[in-house]
Symmetry: C2
């Protein structure tokens, strides 16, 4: 039996459950890898979306050069789960003795690189790796408009690159940014200027890495970029459909939920609330899309209740199941101990090893 | 060493970490138990806030008659963790063969009751318990204004009570509601009318149970109520402080976070993002309160980044730690495998057994 929205599988788990449609995953991976190959870009997927060694293996098999993680504990879980993972970039300032010690242990297992955006972060990394068997690659995080982390100017990037290049135990690994959507021009300007300044100091810039699924099919519009780190592209979600980046048929992750109450003709309650769908809005109204029911809005979540409302009759009954595309796929996989992988009518329970890895 | 915002303990975990200040927990439990005792109300705390058998034990020791859970799996985890838990109300429509079978197994271990708001839910419960060694108590969930689950009128409540009372395997357990904030008058009107209608059918109404921390100190204003189910009161949170229900000193749960970047004079980034604080707003602006820093707003979260901004100088440095009171305590305990309990200068790691229990 094939997986359809009406009957995703003959052996479904108890609800709410996170379902992953593997044929769609494969198609999503192949689509961006093809684009990247055509434009000479290396692909380093961010595993925050799936948190699954098995899907990282699929990404590597398709041509990815390594993976991206956000926290040391995520990287530990991924490396422990897949021997194919030999190259990891942690796009985070690693601060604190405990995390630095774990970083050093991880660097003995895989090719590891991290980022820094201040002298303080570089000093901690250098103190840890000065006596390590091999140096740690450190990229400078650059703020190309997101106003999160990152040095604010190409001049600051160049200064920090020089600090890294001369710091014991470290090598300069390149430039990293997580730009706002549609900021290819800003990335190109910032990175080209920073690269020239750094090279003028006699330091090579081996990598310029950017990321973000919404802009990924425009990555080549910043030709200074050598590497791209898409995350959500592997599953897609409502935020990407609403932005016009993909269609509902490209959404590999859905939440299977059961109707537990129909207290009014225009209202139904499902057993998936914020503990499954999360409260992430990403600028949208409502908390997800019920597949096949564009008339329905999920207008309110409690922890264990999702409220479905329709302008017409809700036409659902207690015990019915629905499949919901969440606003934001990445955060949903963090809510569950396991997802259910659908492939050719089979359902497999897959634990999520990198769930909850916040340190 | 005593726990203070500046130095919560001499042996802190890696960040981000969820800290629980046990002396504050004890004070919060005692405060409401005292109010309830003074007004002849029974207390049945909702464990969704802490998800910890050890804290349920503290609530029972203080005088609670049992616990409230939202899902069968939550109840299973709590009962497995504390032999003192002998009376459990699950305030949820239990639907589906798998969950009903687990409900029946649980009913053999503890005094169990559930709710229903439709004939369909009652039919499923009755089919499951018709052959059980003892009947299941089923309360009617009533909608007193929240427009989530619940029958819409006292007449419907009475009709469903009669259905339950005559259904094989079930006994009518009373009336349950989760009202909006400040709805004591609506609760009183609905429940008094429903109770009279049901008693006119010759059926006793042994329990009228209401809940919600924001209104708990007004529970006695609906004297028909026999039992109250506060949840968040045990920890409190920013939403309750902003509503004027408590002060910052009553907030037992804080998130310890480390500053990882200070990219601008008025901005700092901490290592707690939506994977720890969650995106729950509960009507507020911003994502938490930094203790001791009323000038700071947490204006943006990514999964692993919290952005702190100030109208003046941020005056934080890489490596500094802050303690954040989240908007909503209940959802934060669902994000972590363990919390860290602080008591008289000691820190203990407490796994959270009922975390992620969504089925």
């Amino acid at each position: 039996m094939s997986a359809t929205p009406e009957n995703p599988s003959p052996a479904l788990p108890e609800t709410p459950a996170v379902l992953i449609d593997l044929p769609v995953v494969r198609r999503n991976i192949a689509r961006f890898q093809h684009y990247a190959d055509a434009h000479g870009l290396k692909v380093r997927p961010h595993i925050k979306t799936h948190k699954l060694p098995a899907i990282a293996q699929m990404q590597l098999a398709a041509g990815a050069i390594g993976i991206t993680c956000q926290k040391v504990s995520e990287a530990e879980a991924m490396v422990a789960g897949a021997p194919e993972i030999r190259d990891v970039l942690i796009t985070y300032n690693i601060v604190g003795a405990g995390k630095l010690a774990r970083l050093a242990a991880l660097a003995r297992k895989v090719d590891l690189s991290v980022v820094a955006d201040s002298e303080a972060v570089v000093a901690g990394l250098s103190a840890t790796f000065a006596a390590a068997p091999r140096p740690l690659a450190v990229l400078v995080e650059c703020d190309t408009g997101a106003r999160r982390c990152g040095v604010a100017s190409p001049e600051e990037a160049a200064a920090l690159a020089r600090t890294i290049a001369t710091a014991p135990g470290l090598v300069f690994g390149g430039l990293m940014t997580y730009p706002p959507v549609g900021a290819a021009a800003a990335v190109e300007t910032f990175m080209t200027t920073a690269k020239a300044l750094i090279e003028a100091s006699g330091i090579l810039v081996p990598v310029v890495t950017s990321g973000g699924t919404p802009s990924m099919m425009h990555a080549a519009e910043a030709p200074v970029t050598t590497e791209y780190r898409p995350g959500t592209y592997v599953y897609n979600d409502r935020s990407l459909v609403e932005r016009g980046v993909c269609g509902w048929e490209d959404c590999a992750l859905t939440v299977l939920a059961t109707v537990v109450s129909v207290p009014a003709p225009d209202r139904a309650i499902v057993d998936a609330g914020s503990k499954t769908l999360t409260s992430d809005l990403l600028g949208l109204t409502g908390y997800g899309h019920v597949l096949g029911r564009p008339d329905i809005a999920i207008d309110q979540l409690s922890e264990e209740h999702g409220r479905l409302v329709s302008k017409g009759p809700i036409s659902l009954h207690v015990g019915d199941t629905v499949r919901i595309v969440p606003n934001h796929a990445c955060v949903v996989t963090n809510m569950v101990d396991a997802v259910y992988a659908l492939d050719e009518g089979r359902v497999e329970r897959w634990p999520v090893p990198a769930r909850g890895c916040i340190t």
